[in-house]
Amino acid sequence: MLEFNPQLIVFFLFAILTLGGALGVVTNRNLIHGAIYLIISLFGGAGLFVLLSAPFLAAVQVLVYIGAIAILIIFAVMLTRSMTSMRELYNRQWWISAVVAVLLFGLLVLGVIGPVWVADEEASQPVSDLVATTQDLGVALVDGNQYVLPFEIASLLLTAAMIGAIVIAREDD
């Protein structure tokens, strides 16, 4: 059913990066190492975006997630010295959490992915090879009939969140 082609190899490479990085984030005691695993995982996600023909989102993933959020997390780890002060990695309910996570994964596979999986080979392929480009995305974001209002609200949300973050983190004297 699955023919062996370069695309599949690249997919598995990025899938392994994504999953291995995610496992590294939740199991690593040292938070700096955890942040580096997070970067690896997000990089794998960017590769999956490229495979899904969304190059702009892949660039945004690298710039915003890896370039900004992961670096912000590393700064927070350094500012709070939280990697040296940990006595135990997990809390007392860690095994309940593991059961919940496994159950959630099983539920997602059975309920959402199962119907797509059992569908015939035809149905699990894209409906069309014509794909919207980055230009279409840009037009959709500023078109008055499409997403210009959510776009403006998102920028307002970012401004409010940044001001709020500065106010919360400021040293009050």
Binding site: Q7, A35, Y65, L79, A101, L108, L141, Y147, A161
Partner: protein, 102 residues
Amino acid sequence: MIPLWMYLIVAAAVFAIGVYGVLARRNAVAILMSVELMLSAVNINLVAFWRYLTPQNMSGQVFAAFVFVVAAAEAAVGLAIVISIYRSRRSVVVEDVNLLKG
């Protein structure tokens, strides 16, 4: 092309790992990193469904872009709160922040 369910399996697995991290870790920064993992998994799902079901309609990619915005806002505010808590309590362990516990 690669069938859709393979992307969905990867995204579901990353999301479940993120849920485990949020529920089980004690360090607030690690919990925030797990939340980022979950948001990234949601993005993979959104873009995969966009590519396979509605590749000419931009809503999938636009939603993924908004998830990026919300993730950035969440990370900034969350880390500011963590730094603020560390300043007043000298700890980033979530069990030490129990002021509202009855």
